[in-house]
C-alpha cells in the first residue's frame, strides 16, 4: 500500500494560513505526523491560497522536503500550473522523486502533462475522465483509464510510475459509484502486465457524510480487495492505516506474523 498523505492541502485552514504566511513550522509538524503514521508520498496541494501558485509550490515543496525526504506529489487541477511548477521544483529538489497529480485522459491535458512527467522522470496520476467530465459508469472509466495508460506508456513512462485514479464521488450523492470504481479497477488491472498503480482520493467518498472515518476505512478495505494499491489519505488516522495493512495481510500481499502491524512499521523504518 502506497500511502499518499492528503494533509498538506490548502483546503485545510491551517495549511492555507501557513502557505499565505509562509509559516514552515505548521507545515513541517504536519509532515512529521503524516510520515510517522506511515505516509510514503507527500501530496502537496495549494488550495485557494494567495500569491503566485508556482512560487507557492516551490516554497511548499522545499518546506515539506526539509522535514522528510519522501517523494512529493504536486497536486493541482490546473495543467498549466503543474507544467510551470514541475521544472522549478525539480531544480530546487534535484534528488526527490516527483509525481504529477494529475492529468485527465482528455487529449489536451495529456498532451501538456505526460511529456513533462516523461522528461522529469516523474510519476503521474491519470484520472479516468476526459473533457466530458467524470463518467457515471464503469465502461467510460475503463476507456479513459486505458487511453491514459497507453498514452503514458507510449511516451516511455513505465507502469510503476503510472497511477490510475478512477475518481470516487461522495456516497451520499452517487451511491452506485463506489462499486463502479471497484469494477473499473478490476478491469483496468488486466490491461497491462505489470499493471499500473491504482489510487483514489479516498476521503472524497465520505464528503458531507456523518460517519466519515468509518466510511473511509470500510471503502479503503473494499477497494484494496479490488486491486487498489495506493490512496491519498490521512496517514495520521491510525485505524484507517491499520485497516489497510490488515487488508493486505488478508489478501496475502504481506506475509502474516502475529506482530504484522509492527512488522509493517519496521519495514518503513518507523518506531
Amino acid at each position: 500500500m502506497i500511502i499518499f498523505s492528503e494533509r498538506v492541502n490548502g483546503m485545510y485552514r491551517d495549511v492555507r494560513k501557513a502557505i499565505n504566511e509562509k509559516d514552515e513550522r505548521i507545515v513541517q509538524d504536519l509532515v512529521r505526523e503524516q510520515v510517522a503514521g506511515g505516509a510514503d508520498v507527500m501530496d502537496i496541494n495549494l488550495g485557494p491560497t494567495k500569491g503566485d501558485p508556482v512560487e507557492n509550490f516551490v516554497w511548499l515543496a522545499q518546506t515539506v522536503h526539509a522535514a522528510t525526504d519522501r517523494p512529493l506529489s504536486l497536486d493541482s487541477a490546473k495543467p498549466h500550473v503543474l507544467v510551470a511548477a514541475m521544472p522549478r521544483v525539480r531544480a530546487a529538489l534535484p534528488d526527490t522523486k516527483l509525481i504529477i497529480n494529475s492529468s485527465t485522459a482528455a487529449p489536451e491535458a495529456m498532451g501538456q502533462l505526460i511529456p513533462v512527467a516523461a522528461e522529469q522522470g516523474a510519476g503521474i496520476i491519470g484520472l479516468t475522465m476526459d473533457q466530458e467530465g467524470v463518467p457515471g459508469n464503469v465502461e467510460k472509466r475503463v476507456e479513459c483509464g486505458a487511453t491514459f495508460l497507453m498514452t503514458a506508456m507510449e511516451s516511455g513512462i513505465t507502469p510503476e510510475d503510472i497511477y490510475l485514479d478512477p475518481i470516487i464521488l461522495p456516497v451520499n450523492v452517487a451511491q452506485k459509484q463506489p462499486a463502479n470504481v471497484m469494477e473499473a479497477i478490476r478491469q483496468l488491472a488486466i490491461v497491462s502486465d505489470p499493471p499500473p498503480h491504482f489510487i483514489l482520493g479516498l476521503s472524497n467518498v465520505s464528503q458531507q457524510c456523518l460517519m466519515r472515518n468509518l466510511l473511509n476505512r470500510t471503502y479503503l478495505v473494499m477497494s484494496i480487495a479490488a486491486g487498489l494499491d495506493a490512496a491519498i489519505m490521512d496517514a495520521a488516522d491510525k485505524e484507517l492505516v491499520e485497516a489497510a495493512i490488515s487488508a493486505e495481510v488478508l489478501l496475502d500481499k504481506q506475509l502474516y506474523s502475529d506482530d504484522y502491524l509492527k512488522a509493517w512499521r519496521m519495514q518503513k523504518g518507523l518506531h
Binding site: P194, Q254, L255, Y256, S257, D258, D259, K262, A263, M266, Q267
Partner: protein, 320 residues
C-alpha cells in the same frame, strides 16, 4: 519462435551475512565466509545475482557420537573422541565452517558444565582457523547457562550461535549482541513464526542483517517438500522486499539425512538399495541439492563425499 521474457523485477534481496573474523577484524580466523546476497530466484542467473554460493559447514560434536553409521565412522572414527582433532579433520576435508554441537552439555548426555563447554570451544578455535557455528544442547534452561559463557569466550570471533525460538530468545540474543556474534533464528516449518521471531529479536535491538534463519529441515523421503515450500515462500517474500524475511537460510542437512533408514542401514540392504558406503552420502547430497533450489545459503553436513557432490552440483547450476 521467440522465447518469452520471464525475468522478474524484484524490489528486495537476501541479506549478506559474514561469519568469522580475521586478525584484522579482531578475531583469529584465517578467513571469513559470507552467505546470502542473492537478488533473484536461486540458480536463475538471468534473474539476479548470486554473489556468494551456498556455504557448507561440517558437523563436529563435543563427544563421541552414539550410533553414527559406518560410512561416517570411517571418516571420523579415529578423531571423534577429541573435538579439536575432529575440527582439524573437517578443515582438512575442505569444509567452509565448523558446525560445533555442544551435545554433551545436555542433562542426559553427560551434563557437562559451561566451563567445560568453554574449554571445548577454545580448543576448537585453536585447532582450526575456520569460522564457527556453535549450538547448545536444545534444552533451554541449560543453554541459557552455557551459551552466554561460550559467547563470551568466543568474543571477537564473529561466530554464528544457534538457536533462538519464539518462546526462548532473550538470553541468546543478548549474548550474541554483547559479544558480537551472529544469530540463528529457528521456527520449525512455520513461515509466519519465522517472521515473528525476527520481529521479536529485532525489537531487542539486535540487527536484522545479523540474523540467519533456520526453518528446520526434513530429508528426502521424510517431508522435504514441506520445507521446500517454506523456503520458496520465504525467498519470494525476501525478493519482494520484505526486510523481515530477507535473512539467509541455514539448513541442518547432515543430521536429518543420516536419520533416514535409507542412509543409515548397512550392506544387508545392498542387494536392493545399493552399497551403504555410497547410499548414505547420496541421500545427504540429494537432500541438500534439492533444498538449495528452494533457497538456502548455509548447510550443515556430515559426509565429505556428499559435500563434494553438492559443490559440484552448485557449480553446474551457477554455470561455473
Amino acid at each position: 519462435m521467440s522465447v518469452p521474457e520471464v525475468k522478474e523485477k524484484w524490489s528486495g534481496g537476501v541479506t549478506a551475512v559474514t561469519l568469522g573474523a580475521t586478525k584484522a577484524e579482531g578475531g583469529t580466523r584465517g578467513s571469513t565466509v559470507t552467505i546470502g546476497g542473492q537478488t533473484g530466484i536461486p540458480f536463475l542467473n538471468f534473474d539476479g545475482e548470486t554473489p556468494h554460493p551456498p556455504a557448507i559447514a561440517l558437523d563436529v560434536l563435543d563427544k563421541e557420537p552414539a550410533g553414527w553409521p559406518p560410512p561416517l565412522a570411517d571418516v571420523y572414527g579415529d578423531v571423534w573422541s577429541d573435538p579439536a582433532a575432529w575440527a582439524a579433520r573437517v578443515k582438512q576435508l575442505g569444509a567452509d565452517l565448523v558446525n560445533l554441537r555442544l551435545v554433551s552439555t545436555h542433562p542426559d548426555e553427560g551434563d557437562r558444565s559451561a566451563d567445560e563447554a568453554v574449554a571445548t570451544v577454545k580448543a576448537v578455535l585453536e585447532a582450526v582457523d575456520l569460522p564457527l557455528i556453535i549450538w547448545g544442547c536444545d534444552v533451554p534452561a541449560k543453554d541459557q547457562v552455557v551459551m552466554p559463557k561460550v559467547a563470551e569466550a568466543a568474543q571477537g570471533e564473529n561466530c554464528l550461535l544457534g538457536a533462538v525460538i519464539e518462546d526462548e530468545y532473550r538470553t541468546l540474543t543478548a549474548a550474541a549482541q554483547a559479544y558480537g556474534h551472529k544469530l540463528i533464528a529457528l521456527s520449525p516449518c512455520d513461515i509466519n513464526k519465522s517472521k515473528q521471531v525476527n520481529i521479536l529479536i529485532s525489537d531487542m535491538g539486535y540487527p536484522l542483517q545479523d540474523i540467519v534463519v533456520y526453518p528446520s529441515t526434513a530429508s528426502l523421503g521424510y517431508g522435504m517438500e514441506y520445507i521446500y515450500s517454506i523456503l520458496e515462500r520465504g525467498r519470494l517474500a525476501a525478493l519482494s522486499g520484505d526486510r523481515l524475511m530477507a535473512q539467509p537460510v541455514f539448513l541442518d542437512v547432515g543430521y536429518e539425512s543420516w536419520r533416514a533408514k535409507e542412509a543409515r542401514s548397512g550392506d544387508e540392504m545392498a542387494d536392493t538399495w545399493g552399497p551403504a558406503a555410497e547410499r548414505g552420502p547420496a541421500w545427504e547430497a540429494v537432500t541438500a541439492t534439492d533444498l538449495l533450489q528452494g533457497g538456502a545459503d548455509l548447510l550443515a553436513m556430515r559426509h565429505p563425499k556428499a559435500m563434494e557432490a553438492v559443490r559440484m552440483a552448485v557449480g553446474q547450476l551457477l554455470g561455473e
